[in-house]
Symmetry: C2
Subunit: 428 residues, 2 copies
């Protein structure tokens, strides 16, 4: 039977994984799609570079346009990364009627709607399972598995680097800087870790998950983002004492039709299934109106897990190709986006204050919460042995972000409060 | 646009859930499939029965054939249960060119291959996501999400009743009989609980998962089954002391092309993600050659979670209907089945022995393991304060089932061993 020809843009770790799987599982893959799958051209930066796997030099090119404009190629797998130039490649490939598999979350978070619109116009598939949570098939789960349900909340540990750092800080009582350095040495964090540790990578993934889960166009600018670089080992120790684990959580939720999406270090109650997701693993917790609590766990990165998702998408695109239905099953976000304002965004908060150690302080503080309509779940005041101030640890009930901002602003002007040491969202 | 007409067989809790979702989420569902979805006929046992939801009496019938032979109906949703008669309904519906959504694990485990063959002949869809692990979309995950990978191991907590019982025994130190009675009172266990507690329900689900995961025809008779009715609170206490949780696990694994599938109470190391799946929740752990460890967690039963999966299947079948590709994407198990023999089936074992409390006993016992080539991970001998015998607790390394059987047979003839108190598989 006539083989299906696939062009690969990029031959780094994920690209190499794709080649390994397509070659290693060829019999199984071709039995599923009904014909052999051949990777017939690969764009690389340097075609003379030595590689871990054997690649016929004749199929390598240093010019991506060679791949994109090859009339024999039906499907393009993009694993080269990058945004602006890569977008140009993808749009031209779609123009040529080629189907796209990409692992590129930056591209999809920034230009997903433009790319998907072009795909629809050209009746092409664009699949991007590998762009969120590596080997976890969360995108098809949201599109197909929960097509029937109203998803109310998605919480994700979708960045392995920060989960590795927070897990290590929690288990070893180590400081952020020390663990970051270790993560960099192990290759789990980049030499410039900003995108990971400041939550930007997670925010991009949450924009994708929010778009799919709520069927509206979530953009990166809709995601409020706070990273983990200010999380101290003391904060984590407090979290643990209160029965929480500190996690960088992406949280997308909706009430009626209003949604909010955020990424922030969050104290998660230990009994919640996502609290025990450790190390570089990822997990996405989905709460649906009908299905209730579900969670999907697995490797969030790494060559082979990511390549698993890429090749699963490739199989899906080729099946559609054989049936002549590419591009006809695309989910188009159809709901008007309504973002929650700060009055509508509600969650529990942990607050750690350093205050003067004298009579009446606690009364002033609790009064401020009452004044702005924030009710409290627990308040603990304790003297700090080594310092001339007392610590007050407060956990609120669900409170609006607007009210909490007013409380914190009020605290800035209270003389008895020396420092607002930490404020964290609390879940579970 | 012309609505799609759906016939429902059964209007129990799941059927009612299906009606609720189809009506409640109609706008969202019809925007996905491109036309309204109407449940136009429902077969019930008693059409005069009062119900939780309003159903137009005109669409009720007490004769399933009315639904199956209605020429206006495109898709049949079977949530009535039963095997032999239900199979006849389904085969006739397929004969009439109707697509089938079923939540019936018994039917699919026993007659899945016959039904899927008929579906292929008539180019019809048969989807059965709800038959395994309720609201968890594990079937599409195995078929689509991991289409690219070689799955090496599947471990499932796929029966909520037994997980509820074992969780309760573990947390409260309660006995099997007491907890079973409580589960029956709460409606989590049937008055005749045999199918659940003896592992048959889990075995049926594992036959389905094994078929999909290994792409070969696993039949119910291929699954070795042991239930939880002999698990004592003492066994669970031992498990916990050693760092394990007792779970009824379905385990399907393969080496090369040889597979084995079993269901048995298993001691799972507490650090394994499946060990912390508690209560009526289900989870399926999948280990793939490329993707590594993954786990999928959620409600395994209940009206709304199960109905979520049924309606997601319905959406998929209707999308295919609109595209004219029903029945063309069915996965046909194509590999010849090769079952492992007892020499090839290998795992760790926990063994609890009551032995004479005298010199040389431990030597005799450890010698027996050595003789049959079973190496040991740990051995603890302890006097039992209340009894005139000693206890020996052994955990083996991976050992073949054949060797373990020889060891246990040899123990039967050893005078110093009073009782082989417990033997469990160990995982994690």
């Amino acid at each position: 039977m006539k083989p299906v020809r696939v062009g690969l843009l990029g031959l780094g770790t994920v690209g190499t994984g794709v080649v390994r799987i397509v070659e290693g599982n060829q019999e199984d893959l071709s039995s599923q799609v009904g014909s052999p799958i051949i990777i017939s051209k690969i764009a690389v930066k340097n075609s003379d570079k030595s590689r871990d796997i054997y690649i016929d030099p004749a199929i390598l090119t240093e010019d991506p346009w060679d791949v994109i404009r090859d009339p024999e190629i039906d499907v393009i797998v993009e694993v080269m990364g990058g945004v602006e130039q890569t977008k140009a490649y993808i749009l031209e490939a779609l123009e040529q009627g080629k189907h796209i598999i990409t692992a590129n979350k930056d591209l999809m978070a920034l230009y997903g709607s433009e790319i998907l619109a072009k795909a629809q116009e050209k009746q092409c598939d664009v699949f991007y399972e590998a762009s969120v949570a590596g080997g976890i098939p969360i995108i098809r789960t949201l599109i197909e598995g929960f097509s029937s349900d109203r998803i109310l909340k998605i919480m994700g540990i979708v960045n392995g680097t920060t989960n590795f750092i927070l897990t290590k800080m929690s288990k070893e009582g180590a400081s952020y800087d020390d663990v970051l350095q270790e993560a960099q040495e192990l290759g789990y964090a980049e030499s410039d870790p900003t995108s990971d540790v400041e939550g930007l990578d997670a925010a991009r993934k949450m924009a994708i998950l929010g778009t799919l889960g709520f069927r509206t166009n979530v953009e990166l600018k809709d995601v409020s983002v706070r990273g983990i670089s200010q999380v101290t080992k003391e904060d984590i120790a407090y979290a643990k004492r209160l029965g929480y684990e500190m996690k960088l959580l992406g949280i997308a939720d909706r009430d009626d039709e209003h949604i909010s999406i955020s990424v922030q270090p969050t104290m998660v109650r230990r009994s919640h299934p996502i609290a025990s997701v450790n190390g570089v693993y990822n997990a996405v917790y989905v709460y649906g109106e009908a299905v209730g609590e579900t969670m999907f766990y697995g490797a969030g990165a790494g060559a082979m897990p990511t390549a698993t998702s890429v090749v699963a998408d490739l199989v899906a695109a080729i099946k559609n190709l054989k049936l002549g239905v590419n591009g006809l099953k695309a989910i188009v976000p159809y709901k008007q986006k309504k973002l929650k304002d700060d009055e509508q965004i509600k969650y529990k908060n942990f607050i750690l204050l350093h205050v003067d150690d004298k009579a009446g302080v606690l009364a002033q503080i609790t009064q401020a919460f009452a004044q702005f309509d924030v009710s409290l779940e627990s308040v603990v005041q304790q003297p700090n042995e080594h310092n001339p101030y007392a610590e007050i640890i407060i956990v609120t009930h669900d409170a609006s972000k607007a009210s909490m901002n007013k409380v914190l602003e009020h605290f800035e002007g209270l003389a008895v409060i020396r420092t607002i040491k930490s404020v964290y969202r609390v879940e579970g």
